[in-house]
């Protein structure tokens, strides 16, 4: 589903050339729940942005859903984001003028999947059946993140990209969110979660650890996949 071959990314900050990615290779299949782990500046978010076609690599090849992003036009990249990948952000990024239901409808509308499922049902599936008509500012952080997940799920897209989805949440709420994301992998989606929290990585099928723009390890979590109930952070 996701293929990165020799991907590099450099930024020019004044006269200084900063290397964010120093030639990484990564393959993620459908149904995999992958956590990308690393400290700040390790390149994990850049990787996520490149997979999601929010940013372009300096070199290398990126294929998502069978589409070569490095050879795609701007409009094809927009289409990829509508039809293939969906994002979940640390700061939720809900539309403040839309209710919870409408935010979910937005996900359906952009992907052209309106009518495939009721937004209320999707919100219900993330435990927000009682918050349908609420606006983002009327919801708690955890609830907002669940709306964001519902919005991403509503697209029906096969790739789910989450950037520090628990960063603003307490442990209990964060755990619920991760559980939700893990469930998506079981529904034939490729789920990629970026985090700096090593504890979270223990519940993944696979952990990709990055440092200084390179993948330093890639495999099952140390000590094997751990149930959510055993996690601590």
């Amino acid at each position: 589903m996701i293929d990165l071959e020799g991907v590099t990314k450099h930024y020019e900050v004044g006269p200084v050339l900063v290397t964010a990615l120093a030639g990484i290779d990564l393959h993620v299949d459908t149904g995999e729940f992958v956590v990308v782990l690393g400290a700040s500046g390790s390149g994990k978010t850049t990787t996520l942005n490149i997979i999601g076609a929010l940013d372009s690599p300096s070199s290398g090849k990126v294929t998502v859903g069978g589409r070569d992003l490095t050879a795609s036009s701007r409009s094809e990249l927009f289409a990829l984001r509508r039809e293939t990948v969906s994002f979940i952000f640390q700061s939720f990024n809900l539309f403040p003028g839309l209710t919870a239901t409408e935010n979910v409808e937005f996900g359906m509308d952009v992907s052209g999947k309106s009518g495939s499922a009721a937004p209320a049902d999707i919100l219900d599936s993330v435990g927000l059946g009682h918050r349908l008509g609420h606006f983002p500012h009327e919801l708690s952080g955890g609830e907002q993140q669940r709306v964001a997940i519902a919005r991403a799920l509503a697209t029906g897209n096969p790739v789910l990209l989450a950037d520090e989805p628990t960063g603003e949440l307490d442990f209990k709420t964060g755990a619920q969110i991760l559980e939700l994301l893990a469930e998506q992998a079981n529904q034939d989606r490729a789920v990629l979660v970026v985090t700096h929290n090593r504890e979270i990585s223990r519940m993944a099928d696979r952990v990709v650890e990055m440092s200084s723009g390179q993948i330093i390890s890639d495999g099952p979590p140390e000590g094997g996949k751990t149930p959510l109930s055993e996690l601590h952070w």
């Binding site: 978010t45 940013d55 990024n93 403040p96 003028g97 209710t99 409408e102 992907s111 606006f135 500012h137």
Partner: protein, 815 residues
Amino acid sequence: MKLLRLRWSLRDARRRWIQIVAIGFTLAIGIGLYAGLSSVTQWRLVSIDKSLEATRMYDLRATVSEGGEVPTGSLARIASEIDGIDRYNERLLFDTQVETVVDGDELLVHGRIVGMDVSGSEPVVNDVHLIDDAARPVSGSAIPQALIHRGFADFWDLPARGTLRVGGGIDVDYVGSAVSPEFFVILERNGSFGKSNLAVLFTPLAAAQDISGRTGAVNDLVLTLEPGADAAAVTEQLIEAAATQGGVLLDVITRDETPSYIGLTGAPELDQGIYNAISLLLLSGAAFATLNFAARMVQAQRREIGNSMAIGERPRSIIIRPLLVGMQIGLIGMILGVAVGYAISFQTASAAQAVFLLPFFEQPFQGGIYAQAMALGFAVPVLAVLWPVLRAVRVKPVDAIRSRHLASRGGSLGPILSRIPLPGRSLERMPFRNLMRAPRRAFLTLLTFTMSLAIMFAMLGLGTTLTATLDDGNEELLGGEPDRFIVQMDSLYPVDGPQVTNVLANPTVQLGEPAMVLGANVTTAASDGADDPLRLDLAVRFVDFGSTTWTPTASQGSLSPGSPGIVLAEKAARDFGVGVGDEVVVTHPALVGGAFTSSTRTVPVAAIHPHPLRLNAYMDLSQTSTWGFGGLANVVTGVPADGSTLNDVKRSLFGSGTGVALVLGLNETFQALEDSLESSEGVFFITRIFVVFLVMLIAFNTANINVDERSRDHATMFAYGIPVRRVIANLSLEGLLLGVVALVLGGLFGYALLLWLALFQMSIAVPDVGMIVSVRWWEMAASFVVALAAIALAPVFPGRKLKKMFIPGQLRVME
């Protein structure tokens, strides 16, 4: 710390310079229009005073009645014997026709010869002021010499010197152009003449006497009074002395009663009233726009304000940075405002100079007005910035930090409006939702659009109204015959006498009808005995109500041949507060036993006619006998015979020398208004341009700030694959929603403004004209489409910013 704030603020300015300049320019248009338009009024008042003083306009003017004349020196002798008179001059004035060729085309217009002292050798009353290198005409030359009125010469672009032909086929050499206070603005009592169709020639008295064949005669005296002299007493003594010594009746008017003086001095007040309304609205619109934008810019800094509060910075220090932004906007507004003001004032001044033909047009810098406008321009953005900052520093730091949440709530109305269910897909709902969640912000933007569009509507409507008033008036008098004319006889003649029959039988004339026009003073029966009843001097025209050629239109009531009733203009009826069936009291001249006397009678209002000139009234021709004028006529109306033109009629009748004083096409009735309207169009045009520009600036600012404020929303949309064009379309739709509502409100408000300007303001300055409020809808629609297009296209400009957005950078902004 203060230096840091200054550096920080300058950095803000560099980052947001487009917005700051755009907001400053918005403000500049408001203050520039106010300062520019107000300056012109001051320039005009100063220039009028100086011009009148330099040419010594008369305090009193005495004219021998009924076209009579007296020997040269007789009026001067009377004046010399009356206390209180300072200077006086005798003149001979008479009307003629003036013929010349302009660009190969024959020009035949009405002329007026003013025989007076033009030597400049001694100070005279009502002096001429020579333009450029004009020479002074001398008497005794083989061809009489004259100075031609500058307005006429400029309008027709005549050469500096040349020859004209006046009535009787006499050639006159004009040796330059000049102006005189009586003709600083060409405005006659009936508004028939403007600078384009009245050629005034100033000649030496002797030359005028020669041209007219009235050797040694004068018919006019202009005089100035000594300080403190009683004008009424002098008037009385003049009339009495003329009657007893010369056996003539004098008509005496004061300077204040002179139509051109009224027009000259009243116009700046009228214009200032209109300018005040326009500039006040624009300034308010610009101020609201500035308030809105500045507040939103500060709103965007609320988190930083919260952070400053959290680390313990004093509120007064926190205020400095946003305040500096306000000051920068104010400074730009002030500087650009002066430029806009000058652009407006010079355009308006040039229009004023085309109408008011003053020898001096002073344009001193109006420091007071500009200082006032600039102070306002500086205060508005500073206050606009202070308001949200003071709000921000009053809340708890934690709330200020959560600015996004606070902003989302939209006060008390936002949550209510946000819950209104909307149809359509989520993306389609977004523009509505964005407006609903911030109703105050939307309202302020709406207000600024509404005010701008209202002014545009009123400006367009005012032009259309003036044109419609002229057109409707002409149409009413022409009755479907574009060349219908009126022949004014120089006295009363029997309808079967040679003078009238000559006109009727002239081969260039057909459908001729003798009629009578008499002046009458009219008041209402109801106001009899009231302290200050409205009294109007009307020109009552006696026409055959049974005529198949032409009768006035009765918009109310009916015209019955033989009816004793009077037909009043709608404006007169409205001012009197009378309708059909009511009565008015008419004081009119009467001819009893061959002598003129005055008579008062009560007359029913038979009908109301739609002609806009208030002074036009009609009665059936049969009623001339009740006024003692049965069988007499002093005007003849008609149309050119087949194969003849109006010029043929003018030339043929005026040259006939049989009692014809004037031949005037009825389509020239409003020439004065038409001439001044033509000159005002430049002011209307530039005002409209600035209004459209203001609308564009407001739309641009709104779109630009929306793009800044919603960068995260837009980044999220892009992350979900929404194309940039769709985001721009949504922004356009949001602007259009406000634009359409503003169109409706601006249209309504603009119409109300138009009614106020046309019916109230104009009626103060031009009380004799009943404006016919008219709107050319296609013109309005075209202008509004332009305005809407500007609003819709505004988001395209910040669209570049959207296209270049670094999406991840926006998405990772933390709360």
